[in-house]
């Protein structure tokens, strides 16, 4: 008969597997959260998203969808504290909305909304120093 202090080998192996699973989940969670929250600019056929420019705190930033990858129209819009500030829709060109063309906005509370049909629908890119 097994003594409680010496559990059978199979449950001990299961416990080890469970620990490995928990640690793997924890690693993935960290990676997913980092990717989701800090994804200010990425490529889906064309580069697009939020560009800070020279400084992350000077209120000068861009919502941008680069040109190329076909001739469809593309939109780049700026939001601040969740409210719509303004933006452009352009033909076959780079769409480049500069915050200063609308006014002075807190950079870290701003987002870029990008659309380039049929490659990607409207989605949000936050400032990399997000504070909203």
């Amino acid at each position: 008969m097994d003594h409680p202090a010496n559990p059978p080998a199979a449950p001990r192996r299961m416990q080890g597997g469970l620990v490995a699973l928990v640690l793997a989940c924890s690693f993935s969670f960290g990676a997913i959260v980092e990717y989701a929250l800090a994804d200010d600019y990425h490529v889906n056929c064309v580069g697009h998203g939020f560009l800070h420019g020279a400084s992350q705190t000077d209120g000068s930033f861009f919502a941008r969808v680069e040109g190329g990858c076909g001739s469809g129209s593309r939109s780049c819009d700026i939001y601040n504290w969740g409210s719509y500030v303004g933006g452009y829709t352009v033909g076959a060109a780079t769409c480049n909305a500069w915050s200063r063309d609308w006014g002075d906005y807190l950079e870290c509370a701003s987002t870029s909304h990008s659309t380039f049909s049929p490659y990607f629908g409207n989605h949000v890119h936050k400032a990399s120093n997000w504070c909203g």
Binding site: V19, V22, L23, A24, S26, F27, S28, F29, G30, A31, I32, V33, E34, Y35, A38, D39, Y41, H42, V43, G47, G49, L51, G53, A54, S60, F62, E66, G67, S71, S73, D77, Y84, V85, G86, G87, Y88, T89, V90, G91, A92, A93, T94, C95, N96, A97, W98, R100, D101, W102, G103
Partner: protein
């Protein structure tokens, strides 16, 4: 005591692996794609740009104008704003133009790649009140007219002496899309849906 120590170690291991996940994702993102050195580049590096002919605002205040700015990489940026003839930018609550200085913004493309560089700018909350939608662009030399259509109504605009064109409307266009049809000297037409 040994049990508590084991649980603490396990908790610390979870936190450390989550941190490792954050660090790995961060490193992957940095290596995966660096946004290009802005081209169009930083606004302060831009030359002054060429202003087109002005168009009155439907309600009042400074008129609107298209600005054409060449980039160092040989592209052409076409943007829109308010002007008094020299300053260019948005209008503040006092009705004065906030001069943004030179910039590369709006629509940027290789000159001549299309018969026209067309764009729509949206201003949902002007500082002086109200909203505006502005259809604007630059037409190459063989363009004779620009027809702007939305919701069954249309307006024909001739490019000005600087080859810019501009239509300012009150309000926002909502979900309606604009169609800009460019007519060339040989009668052919090119349409852009924005």
């Amino acid at each position: 005591m040994r049990l508590i120590g084991g649980r603490l170690a396990f908790g610390a291991a979870i936190v450390l692996t989550a941190a490792a996940g954050v660090a790995s994702a961060s490193a992957f993102r940095a290596g995966a794609y660096d946004p290009p050195a802005p081209d169009p580049a930083e606004p302060l590096d831009a030359p002054p740009g060429q202003l087109g002919e002005t168009v009155a605002d439907p309600v009042g205040g400074p008129p609107w104008v298209v600005r054409i700015t060449p980039t160092p990489a040989g592209k052409r940026c076409v943007s829109v704003g308010r002007t008094d003839g020299s300053a260019f930018g948005p209008v503040n609550a006092a009705g004065d133009i906030v001069d943004t200085g030179p910039s590369f913004s709006g629509s940027c493309a290789e000159p001549g790649a299309e018969p026209a560089q067309v764009a729509v700018a949206r201003y949902p909350h002007l500082a002086t009140g109200g909203a505006r939608t502005v259809v604007f662009g630059f037409a190459e030399g063989d363009v004779t007219s620009v027809t702007v259509t939305r919701s069954g109504t249309f307006e024909v605009i001739a490019p000005d002496n600087y080859r810019t064109f501009l239509l300012v409307q009150e309000g926002m266009s909502g979900d309606d899309r604009w169609t800009v049809t460019i007519t060339l000297t040989d009668g052919t037409e090119h349409s852009y849906t924005l």
